[in-house]
């Protein structure tokens, strides 16, 4: 794996953004060659804090993606399992995910794959753990009763199938989960640990997230920053090329 450590949240975000940008440019996407970006999913639509609204306001409205190329799991579908199966099929039809970007929960989960989730699981309906509900309460005015308790999510196996995985972790409250994910064994109680067995994983984090790691680990990867930073050197702009 690569472990990229930046000083703070903003720098970590910026580094990750530049990396994704470069990966897309290097892929040389075109009319018939799509770069498939995977992002974690969940929540019912049309809620003020719905994932659709969140994705629209923070991502889709700022870019010029064709709406037909944006696939989000529909939490309001009548047959949820069929919705999940269809989603898996769409990924397959798109040729698989080129880069999956995700975060990590304080309990070490990736997407909504709560502790105990199978490490080969696929897209399905999950009941959320209390930890996750508490973490999401801030989006619902702190009112626990308003936080959705169920979510559709991509499975650990689904993400493992991606050609590359990027995990973003910032904040001291995630430090223990990061430790469990990369310094302990592969364990379904800390589902992010599954990526130890993925050929191309990159963890991007801030200083605070490394607080529970061994000094030796942190020193090693910090020492590699000059190599890592080459990955975010600006490449040509695709607009200029065209």
């Amino acid at each position: 794996m690569r472990l990229v450590i930046l000083d703070n949240y903003d720098l970590a975000s910026e580094w990750a953004a530049k990396y994704i940008c470069n990966r897309i440019i290097q892929f040389k996407p075109g009319q018939d060659r799509y770069f498939t970006l995977g992002l974690p999913t969940g929540l019912p639509r049309n809620h003020p804090e719905s994932y659709h609204s969140y994705m629209w306001n923070n991502f889709f409205k700022h870019i010029d993606i064709d709406p037909n190329n944006a696939h989000i799991l529909d939490g309001n579908a009548t047959d949820l399992q069929a919705e999940c199966d269809a989603f898996e099929k769409k990924i397959e039809e798109a040729g698989g995910i080129d880069l999956f970007v995700g975060g990590i929960g304080p309990d070490g989960h990736i997407a909504f794959n709560e502790p105990g989730s199978s490490l080969v699981s696929r897209t399905r309906l999950k009941t959320l753990a209390m930890d996750t509900i508490l973490a999401n309460a801030k989006y619902f005015d702190g009112d626990l009763s308003k936080v959705p308790t169920m979510a559709l999510t991509v499975g650990v196996g689904t993400v493992m199938d991606a050609r590359e995985v990027m995990i973003l972790i910032t904040g001291a409250h995630k430090a223990f989960a990061l430790y469990k994910a990369i310094e302990e064994g592969v364990n379904h109680m800390w589902t992010v640990s599954a990526f130890q067995q993925h050929p191309r994983t990159i963890f991007v984090c801030d200083e605070d997230a490394t607080l529970e790691l061994r000094v030796k680990t942190v020193k090693y990867f910090k020492g590699l920053m000059h190599v890592h930073n080459k990955l975010v050197d600006p490449l040509y702009s695709m607009k200029e090329e065209n």
Binding site: H52, W56, K61, D64, D66, A70
Partner: protein
């Protein structure tokens, strides 16, 4: 409704690189239009899976709802109170020229006139949507003749009337028809005014108190009976007195029925109201402030002698008086100039200044779901402004209807 071009119904235009007035703030957002209405791009993206057919770069300008003028007596040589065989042409001329001031909707105002003039003129003024031909007509504002003798201002003395004889029927006989009327200004101290106010408001017409010597108690009673507006605050009414604030006291009155609020018109041309008075009114009741021009036919014509109703008026710069006197009689400051003056004089936020000419008049007339905002679903009447609030372009129903020569698109 004028017929749409084929394909215009479904064509989606996205205005980018701009700041829009929405939710009482200037947001760095794009404005999406379809079928003459403001479109919700999130719904478009997820439900229809469509993107824009056309993008227009707004060069970092401000996009605000089109301005609404609820008190304008004419302009460009046209006098709405003059009986003519073709009032429609006059309205059209003014409507067309108002576009350059960022006005997309207005209420042609008739000053105190004899009944036969109302009977001749009113049927020729029709409520209609704006278009490339000109700003929309929201309805007529009838200022008088049921007003105070003492505070008649420039209104002709001989044509003033009272409600004594027949109350509402008197009013109906005088005007002839109320079909296209949006606002009626009257003096609440006139006997039987309250029953008249109730009757008028029950027909969905807004009642405004003005040109009056009423005390606060009478004005409050008028509001309790349905009045919701004050015509050009401070002008043509008793001055504020600390033991009897008069009509001005409505701004902070505690007798307003719950769920309602009183709006007040202000002529912010720098002449009708001292900036300090403007600030006092704004600070006392900022949400009720409605900018109006009370513009006279000389608007847009320059200095000289012109007519207003049955009277002659003299224009010098921004000042207009009844010929031979010092009585102010309306203004020649366009609404966008009033917005700028209001912004500078009060030091209020840009959002507040803009809402005083858009959201507030729309709320007064109860049309805020279609006009006065850039909310999803409302009519796409808007203006492009630079940071000093100069009008760069005007749009009605999503179509460009006027633009400053310096603007590129």
């Amino acid at each position: 409704m004028p017929p749409q071009k084929v394909g215009a119904e479904t064509r989606i235009v996205q205005f980018t690189n701009c700041r829009i007035l929405r939710g009482h703030t200037l947001l760095r957002e794009d404005l999406w239009i379809r079928g003459g209405r403001i479109l919700d791009p999130e719904k478009l993206f997820f439900e229809e899976k469509r993107s824009a057919d056309e993008q227009r770069d707004c060069e970092g300008h401000i996009l605000a709802p089109g301005f609404i003028d609820v008190q304008i007596n004419g302009g460009f040589g046209v006098d709405f109170s003059l009986p003519s065989e073709d009032v429609g042409s006059g309205i059209a001329l003014v409507a067309k020229n108002l576009l350059a001031y960022g006005v997309t909707s207005f209420c042609p105002t008739l000053v105190t006139s004899p009944p036969d003039i109302y009977h001749k003129v009113l049927p020729q003024i029709i409520v209609r949507n704006g278009s490339s031909q000109g700003a929309g007509v929201l309805g007529v504002h009838l200022e008088g003749p049921f007003i105070s003798h003492e505070k008649r201002g420039a209104h002709p003395e001989s044509h003033l009337r009272t409600f004594e004889t027949d109350a509402f029927q008197e009013l109906l006989k005088t005007y002839g028809s109320l079909d296209n009327v949006a606002i009626i200004t009257l003096a609440p101290e006139l006997r039987r005014s309250y029953e008249v106010i109730r009757e008028i408001t029950s027909r969905g017409i807004c009642v405004s108190v003005g040109h009056s010597v009423s005390h606060l108690r009478e004005a409050e009673e008028a509001v309790q009976n349905g009045a919701t507006f004050i015509t050009h605050l401070f002008n043509a009414m008793l001055p504020f007195h600390h033991r009897d604030p008069g009509i001005v006291g409505l701004l902070t009155s505690d007798q307003i029925p719950p769920g309602r609020q009183v709006f007040f018109g202000m002529i912010a041309d720098g002449i009708h109201t001292n900036p300090a008075a403007l600030r006092i009114a704004h600070r006392a009741h900022p949400k009720g402030l409605v900018l109006v021009t009370d513009a006279i036919p000389a608007l847009g014509l320059g200095n000289g002698r012109h007519t207003l109703g049955q009277q002659d008026v003299e224009v010098d710069g921004l000042t207009c008086c009844v010929a031979g006197t010092k009585t102010l009689c309306g203004s020649v400051a366009p609404l966008d100039a009033c917005v700028r003056h209001f912004l500078h004089a009060t030091g209020c936020s840009v959002e507040m200044a803009l809402e005083a000419a858009t959201l507030h008049p729309a709320q007064l007339l109860g049309i805020e779901k279609q006009k006065g905002t850039l909310d999803f679903g409302s009519d796409a009447d808007f203006v492009v402004l630079d940071d000093s609030l100069n009008v760069k372009a005007t749009y009605i129903a999503g179509e460009l209807v006027w633009q400053d020569k310096t603007l590129s698109h």
